[in-house]
């Protein structure tokens, strides 16, 4: 599970920026091309963004693919709250909207999109959630940042940046749609500004 990246955390920016807005933009453009190349075109592609920050990332990737290919790309969102393995160790949180694009996911290529890949547990939950929604022909994973420390045999197919990090560090992704600006920052957990 990625370290919490709540809006408002950045009232006192700390640590240092590892990706700025231009880096994020370039990474997403590259990921978009990789997805197209891997899928041999835009046919049957469905992008599912994982809440919270995977949702705008999926939309941005879809826009890039649309501008290259000139065809609309199906985008949806996936909430994995109900599928988490750590439900019992937190106070309950309400689920967010799961939106499956028209046409469903049966027989199509689903690309899960998330901001940070860390333990892999969120993706495990997402695979279970996808399983309840239908039967895609292929499921792939695109992440903006892979920070290592996997706890499950899960890997990403498309990575914006590999960011070796210590467990004691926090990787925070900020996106314009949610936080008002784009950046990826790494900081020490508990560090005082």
């Amino acid at each position: 599970m990625p370290a919490p990246t709540q809006p408002g955390d950045d009232a006192t920016p700390e640590g240092h920026i590892v990706l700025d807005a231009r880096d994020i933009s370039r990474a997403l453009t590259r990921i978009s091309h990789e997805i197209l190349e891997r899928n041999k075109g835009p046919e049957d592609l469905v992008l599912l963004g994982l809440h919270t920050r995977g949702v705008p990332l999926a939309r941005r990737i879809a826009e890039r693919i649309e501008s290259v290919e000139g065809t609309p790309i199906a985008v949806g969102s996936l909430d994995v709250t109900m599928y988490r393995d750590d439900l019992r160790s937190h106070p309950t949180r309400g689920p967010q909207k799961t939106v499956v694009p028209a046409g469903g996911i049966d027989g199509r290529t689903v690309v899960l999109v998330d901001d940070v890949l860390f333990s892999g547990r969120t993706i495990r939950s997402a695979l279970d959630a996808v399983n309840d929604l239908g039967r895609p022909s292929t499921v792939r994973l695109a992440v903006l940042v892979d920070r290592g420390h996997r706890e499950l045999p899960i890997r990403a197919d498309h990575v914006g940046k590999n960011l070796p990090s210590a467990r004691s560090e926090r990787v925070s992704v900020r996106l314009d749609e949610i936080d008002g600006h784009d950046e990826v920052r790494i900081s020490q957990i508990g560090a005082k500004p």
Partner: protein, 309 residues
């Protein structure tokens, strides 16, 4: 919040949270695979000492769709009919390792009492003439789906108020959500002391249905609970219908899109005419479908997270 015994256990934020989650659950209801793993390995017992079709089956479906194991125990056919006390019954059931008790009992306050005896989460599915909180939550949720915000909306609750736990929970829930509630009943079925309560909670009372109906944004008809009546509350059923029933004539005085609610089971021809029950504006079946979503939401919020002390 450990139990759900009364609408008073919830503030507006908690109700909002339940509705938001219910909206997601409503989507699951329309999926091919109606299953979420959130309550896997948890056990929910429906302990019903009074008859019920929709509440019990709706709690059972809600629990099953969240992957909980749900078991039904009814008063008839259980050891209660051999004379076992309520306390012994619930302690026995809980000794099996139960996480939640969904309970309906004819004694007001029984859910509260049971919650003091057991460690399990207790959900009140109707205690005597006291409360039926999930019914009020699903009514408010179904109404919001139709009307949007209930702030300032004029809602009439009509019928046998004295014996109605649905009315008590609904008044609490709807006034919390800002609705302008008027309750209508014959003087014999108006609970004693309601004026003080109405004044404190900000709702109105009336004996005249025809005066209230034209201004209403929604009408909730309540069942005439003959099984709880041990006296003469009105001269004849016919007279009740004429004065307080949602008849075909009264239906015509409503706006065509004014929602009509009834918690069921309906006495067709007594408090509600078939024309009204089956009208396009009737939410009776929407209430049932909202019931599953809202009960999934309630079970999820009470059972999925870490244990609260």
């Amino acid at each position: 919040m450990k139990h759900l015994l009364s609408i008073n256990d919830l503030d507006v934020d908690a109700m909002r949270m339940i509705f938001d989650t219910a909206a997601e659950m409503h989507d699951v209801q329309h999926r091919e695979v109606k299953k979420l793993p959130a309550l896997r390995g948890r056990t929910v017992i429906n302990l019903f000492f009074e008859d019920s079709t929709r509440t019990r089956s709706s709690f059972e479906i809600a629990g099953k769709w969240l992957s909980a194991d749900t078991i039904n125990i009814t008063g008839k056919g259980s050891s209660t009919s051999k004379g076992e006390s309520l306390r012994d019954t619930v302690l026995t059931v809980c000794a099996m390792g139960v996480d939640a008790l969904v309970m309906r009992h004819h004694a007001s306050g029984s859910a509260q009492q049971v919650s003091e005896w057991v460690d399990a989460v207790v959900i009140n599915a109707g205690d005597g003439t006291h409360e039926h909180p999930t019914q009020a939550l699903l009514d408010a949720y179904a109404l919001e789906l139709k009307l949007g915000s209930l702030e300032g909306r004029r809602i009439a609750i009509v019928g046998d108020l004295t014996h109605s736990r649905v009315f008590r929970s609904n008044v609490l829930a709807l006034t919390k959500l800002g609705a302008d509630v008027t309750v209508v009943a014959p003087p014999t079925l108006m609970p004693s002391g309601i004026d003080a309560w109405a004044k404190a909670s900000g709702f109105s009372t009336s004996y005249d249905l025809d005066e209230v109906l034209p201004g209403a944004d929604a009408v909730m008809m309540l069942r005439v609970q003959r099984e709880r009546m041990n006296g003469a509350f009105f001269p004849t059923a016919r007279e009740y219908t004429v004065r307080y029933g949602l008849t075909r004539d009264r239906l015509a005085t409503l706006k065509p899109d004014t929602p009509i609610l009834h918690p069921g089971p309906m006495n067709r021809g007594l408090e509600i005419a078939a024309d009204a029950a089956d009208a396009a504006q009737s939410l009776v079946l929407d209430q049932v479908s909202a019931g599953v979503a809202v009960r999934m939401s309630v079970l999820y919020h009470l059972l999925a997270g870490e244990e609260t002390a």
